[in-house]
């Protein structure tokens, strides 16, 4: 019988304690952001969509080999000095944002951007062509055409340890 009343008492009191905690939050400012209007500032090292600057890229194919999911497609024509890159595409359906491609790029052309929202209507739209196929053969060191929206140039981070990128 004592247990019965103790149970009722503890049920009521613990419920009231919980309710005081929840009611306190009503007056606090919410912690969430109103996403499309307010955006979180991405930290320096944030790994967003991969960007390749085809002006620097020399189509060495290392990134494509290192990619664990094989999402980078590089096609070239010719040999030696006449080697042209005809296609540099990244399939973001497959990309896992692991950054293995960037840390081994000896030209520093491939970088992780701070761009993260690319909702598309068609999964084919997620295959990004960094070379414009309409221009035909372009030497590997020519201007890039496809710019990512919201592209943020990652600043030089001294503590990054990513020295391999510049060498």
């Amino acid at each position: 019988m004592v247990q019965y009343f103790q149970d009722i008492y503890s049920a009521v009191s613990s419920a009231l304690v919980g309710m005081t905690i929840t009611i306190k939050h009503i007056w606090k400012k919410p912690v969430t952001l109103q996403f499309p209007d307010e955006r979180q500032v991405m930290p320096q090292r944030f790994r967003g969509f991969v960007h390749n600057d085809t002006t620097k890229c020399d189509a060495c194919n290392i990134c494509a080999k290192l990619c664990p999911v094989d999402c980078i497609y590089i096609e070239t024509e010719g040999k030696g000095k006449d080697r042209y890159m005809t296609r540099y595409a990244i399939d973001y359906n497959k990309c896992i944002w692991c950054s293995l491609c960037t840390e081994n790029c000896h030209t520093g052309s491939i970088t992780m951007s701070h761009d993260y929202d690319h909702a598309v209507y068609d999964r084919r739209s997620l295959v990004y062509e960094f070379m414009d196929p309409t221009e035909g053969k372009v030497p590997c060191h020519r201007a890039t055409r496809i710019e990512l929206g919201w592209w943020v140039e990652p600043k030089e981070d001294k503590s990054d340890g990513d020295k391999g990128a510049e060498s």
């Binding site: 912690v31 664990p68 001294k158």
Partner: protein, 391 residues
């Protein structure tokens, strides 16, 4: 409780009541079910609310990760370990790189070890917060879920600042960590966050959920995993410790620099019911969060200067032929990596012993004779991650 309900079926034995034909109801709980934490499917045989048989059916999230390990090199496979236990990827990273380093007999710089311990413990806290949150949600309490996610968000922000990834970090590499600690006050932010967590937030969770009478009624004496069951089903982690066994790889088989730090191993004490019930497993996690905070504080306070990588990032990892097994304590339990190398670029075989897989099997025994609601509590308290079970 369960036994009482069983007895009520006995009225059909009386002579004046015609015999009622009854059969067990087969019920598919999952793979698309809100309480199965992903794509677990539980095949139930029930009599009303009482469960007579539980069979976990796995494989809905199988991604051949172990087979892929034979095709990608050691550094590339780190990204796959992220995707095992996606709630505590740092712990999985740590488990794998420890195994590779053992095989390579690679010394790891002290600073790297400290950073590893700090981020792995942060990841453990994040995972335990999710465990508390979803367990509360299984019990029907919505608000603790959002509160725990709020704190987890802070951890994700911190880990994002150090590693660049939000959930899937790919932060550790054999021989060290990928980046050093950023110079924007990361250490200070981590310390202030864990202080806030220790002093304020855990108290809030306790008041809101842990010591709530309804929650205690739902979890105490429910889904009791005895010490013997826990041993025979090879349970590890909070599930084993919830059953009152003081075993933790960080203490009993120390790896990394855990032996340097002072922390306690919380075990289930049966405060609200029997040792090994759902409440105990829940409470072990709450206490482990506090202990993780202690470890992080020690690791960051004694952070040595020096290099953070033994092998430069763009250099390949060369692994000699041989085999190595390591076990580490992830948030879910003991995670083991067995790597056989033939000296080539890729592993010859990589076997992962995942804690959730072993922990889940116990529902087959403990779930029987319980109510459907209790089964939900049991599965919630095991804190399984399907990414790890199916791999």
């Amino acid at each position: 409780m369960a036994m009482d309900t069983k007895k009520t079926n006995g009225w059909a034995d009386q002579d004046d009541v015609p015999e009622i034909k009854s059969e067990l109801l087969e019920l598919n709980m999952g793979p698309q079910h809100p309480a199965t934490h992903g794509v677990l499917r539980l095949l139930l045989k029930t009599d009303g609310e009482i469960v007579y048989q539980v069979t976990p059916v796995l494989g809905y999230l199988h991604r051949c990760a172990e087979k892929i390990a034979e095709g990608v090199n050691y550094k590339q496979w780190v990204v796959y370990t992220d995707r095992f236990d996606y709630l505590a990827p740092m712990c999985c990273n740590h488990a794998y790189v420890t195994a590779v380093e053992k095989l390579m007999q690679q010394e790891v710089p002290e600073r790297a070890e400290h950073i590893r311990v700090a981020v792995a413990e942060l990841s453990r806290i994040a995972s335990h917060l999710i465990a508390l949150a979803t367990f509360g949600l299984d019990m029907g309490a919505w608000t603790p879920l959002l509160y725990c996610f709020r704190e987890r968000e802070e951890i994700l922000n911190l880990l994002e600042r150090i590693s660049g990834g939000r959930m899937l970090y790919n932060y550790m590499v054999p021989g060290g960590v990928r980046y050093d600690i950023p110079e924007d006050g990361w250490v200070k932010d981590v310390l202030s966050f864990i202080t806030m967590l220790e002093t304020k937030k855990i108290k809030d969770y306790n008041q809101l959920l842990t010591y709530n009478k309804i929650f205690i009624e739902r979890t105490a004496d429910v889904g009791v995993i005895s010490k013997e069951d826990a041993f025979s089903y090879a349970c590890t982690g909070p599930v084993l410790r919830g059953s009152g066994v003081k075993f933790d790889c960080r203490r009993n088989d120390p790896y990394s620099v855990y032996s340097k730090f002072d922390f306690e191993i919380p075990v289930g004490l049966g405060e609200m019911g029997t040792v090994g019930d759902c409440w105990d497993r829940y409470m072990v996690r709450v206490r482990e969060i506090e202990q993780s905070c202690r470890i992080i504080r020690q690791a960051l306070d004694t952070l040595p200067e020096g290099p953070y990588q033994a092998i430069e990032l763009h250099k390949p990892v060369k692994v000699p032929a041989g085999a190595a097994y390591t076990r580490t304590e992830s948030a879910k339990g003991e995670i083991g990596h067995y790597i056989i190398s033939d000296g080539g670029q890729t592993a010859f075989r990589n076997k992962v012993r995942s804690p959730s897989f072993c922990n889940l099997q116990v529902v087959e025994k403990v779930g029987v004779g319980q109510m459907v609601s209790d089964l939900v509590a049991l599965v919630g308290s095991l804190d399984i991650v399907l990414g790890e079970i199916d791999r």
